[in-house]
């Protein structure tokens, strides 16, 4: 499985990663190698096998949908991690033109 530069660029864009030309080339080769390696999974017969997404055996773990109070100091600590604040709100870049 050899990924060409266009495909790598597409994957980088889906991944929201800005990459240099050098990186695109390096990761392109490495990802192709890794995909070649993991391709061996295709030889396993899984025709009657159910996929495993989790191993706990737990089903439908539910909780009450209620608002839980959060310590005000912890809220401030959390807000202070944001690169840009407007009062006590996290400022985001314009989403709609």
């Amino acid at each position: 499985m050899k990924l060409d530069k266009k495909q790598i660029k597409h994957i980088a864009s889906l991944s929201k990663l800005e990459l240099t030309d050098k990186e695109l080339e390096k990761y392109g080769n490495q990802l192709s190698d890794v995909l070649g390696y993991i391709d061996q999974l295709k030889e396993v017969d899984v025709s009657d096998t159910i996929p495993t997404a989790q191993v706990t055996g737990l089903e439908n773990v539910l909780e009450e949908d209620v608002v839980r109070d959060w310590d005000n100091k912890e809220i401030d600590l959390a807000l202070n991690q944001a690169p840009e604040l407007d009062g006590r709100e996290v400022k985001v870049k314009r989403v709609l033109e």
């Binding site: 495993t52 191993v55 690169p83």
Partner: protein
């Protein structure tokens, strides 16, 4: 006796008898860190002031007669576990200044118990790696040979215990990240059953296999720490309540040990095989029954793991957007540009590689061929392990295919690095408990053996591990540093 060399059990006795104080013990560990960590580079952040304050509080409680297993015991936590008020960087430039607003559940439990947090330890960025070289800070060095890696991704935590900078440490294990460095550093590392201890407050990597666990000097100590950090947590819906009410076998003559032949074949260094077989022989001499078994899907564990893990990583790391926390990069008002630059410049090489691989294996047209196929093979791997563990009490294997390799030696070969997980990723995919215990040395470098049990049957690992450590002294050996 240098106090920093104590085990939890020894320190507990001395603290309770009033022979030593937590303050002195903490101070001595901090001094040890200061003295040797410029060589080992295990610690990212040292919280000296906070540690000494906590130690004083612990001493007051001990004086009042309070008793609990970890009261006043100094420890180190891997830097992908959230600690309120103390930086948590995950060894990523993206989080280089991040301070968590709350404690991870396991940190809260240790705090309630009175354990003393000394420092946050180095790791592969976001725990992506098997060598602790992929850190934005600096690689950690193996205390047994400073030119070699300590293993990873919990390399800082394992190196710190091996070099007696603390009494125990915490790591996280997704596909071997506690067991691999414990093996390379000659200490004990336990990956508990998935769901036994809360993941709340761990920086998520692969949510379906991530677990936190202890790295300690003895098996006994691992059991003590696990007893404190385990338990159902309302903040982690995958945790289970577990009380071991059945009496677990403790007589060596009753044990039946399975030896999976695929874990002892040509991919493993002959000298490692010999040492692990010798260790199994010690248990056999004492009366354990040993049977050879086969796990034919073993060769598919690494390819399965390296589809499932990057897939979950690409989803979990989507939260790092440069908006709510972390280092924002990118000029101007363009949102897309902020995402691209913050992530492109903030993440290191291996993290970007894994995000891209996972994005690809989940993308339209490829999901069924890769991700779904891997989930199905995961079922095969799990069923095979569960089936064999019904017939035997545990499996014993080497932890890693060789001893610690040199820093830089395989840094540019992702597949070679992924193959480090070949003996440890199976139990992770199956959610089984597994412990690495030192069982020998090759040219002055430690070798670990892995004991794998059935789900939630940690007790069998502790019992066999204890028996092994009672009849051997590999766990007492320490590097000369």
């Amino acid at each position: 006796m240098e106090l920093n060399k104590l085990t939890i059990k020894e320190a507990r006795q001395k603290l309770d008898k009033g022979e030593i104080s937590s303050f002195d013990l903490t101070k001595i560990c901090l001094d040890r860190i200061k003295k040797i960590d410029d060589k080992v580079k295990a610690c990212i952040t040292i919280c000296e002031k906070e540690a000494l304050e906590e130690a004083k509080k612990a001493d007051e409680k001990i004086k009042k007669g309070e008793k609990s297993d970890l009261l006043g015991i100094p420890y180190i936590a891997k830097d992908n576990i959230l600690t309120k008020g103390v930086k948590t960087t995950a060894a990523s430039k993206f989080l280089e200044n991040y301070i968590a607003p709350y404690d991870a559940t396991i940190i809260k439990k240790l705090k309630n118990e009175g354990a003393v947090l000394l420092a946050k330890s180095n790791l592969d960025e976001f725990a992506h790696g098997a060598s602790t070289e992929n850190s934005c800070h600096r690689p950690t060095h193996n205390p047994w040979d400073l030119e070699r890696v300590p293993g990873g991704s919990s390399g800082g935590s394992a190196a710190a215990v091996a070099a007696d900078m603390c009494i125990f440490s915490l790591g996280t294990d997704t596909g071997g990240s506690i067991r691999c460095p414990a093996g390379f550093c000659g200490v004990v590392g336990l990956k508990p059953s998935y769901g036994l201890a809360s993941r709340f407050g761990l920086i998520s990597m692969t949510s379906s296999t991530d677990v936190p666990g202890p790295i300690t000097k003895t098996v006994e100590d691992a059991e003590i720490v696990m007893g404190v950090i385990m338990g159902k947590d309302e903040n982690d819906a995958t945790t289970v309540e577990f009380k071991n009410e059945e009496k677990t076998k403790n007589n060596i003559k009753d044990f039946k040990i399975g030896i999976p032949s695929e874990y002892f074949d040509e991919k493993v260094d002959k000298k490692v095989i010999d040492l692990v077989k010798k260790a199994i022989g010690e248990l056999e001499k004492k009366g354990a029954k040993v049977v050879e078994i086969s796990l034919p899907h073993t060769k598919y564990t690494v390819p399965t793991y390296y589809i499932i893990t990057p897939s979950e990583i690409s989803s979990n790391l989507a939260r790092f957007d440069g908006i709510r926390y972390g280092v924002r990069q990118g000029e101007g008002d363009d949102l897309e540009n902020v995402y691209l630059a913050s992530r492109g410049k903030g993440f290191g090489e291996e993290v970007k590689r894994r995000i891209m691989l996972g994005t690809y294996t989940l993308s339209a047209g490829y999901r069924d061929a890769y991700y779904l196929q891997a989930q199905k093979v995961r079922t095969k791997i799990k069923e095979e392990l569960d089936f064999e563990l019904e017939k035997v009490d545990c499996l014993i294997t080497p932890t890693s295919p060789h001893t610690a390799f040199k820093i830089g030696e395989q840094a540019d070969d992702p597949i070679l690095m992924y193959l480090e997980d070949i003996l440890v990723s199976g139990p992770s995919l199956a959610g089984l408990p597994a412990i690495s215990i030192p069982c020998g040395e090759i040219d002055g470098l430690p070798v670990g053996m892995q004991i794998i049990g059935s789900r939630l049957n940690e007790k069998i690992l502790f019992n066999i591990g204890n028996i092994f450590q009672n009849i051997t002294d590999w766990h007492i050996k320490r590097p000369n540093i």
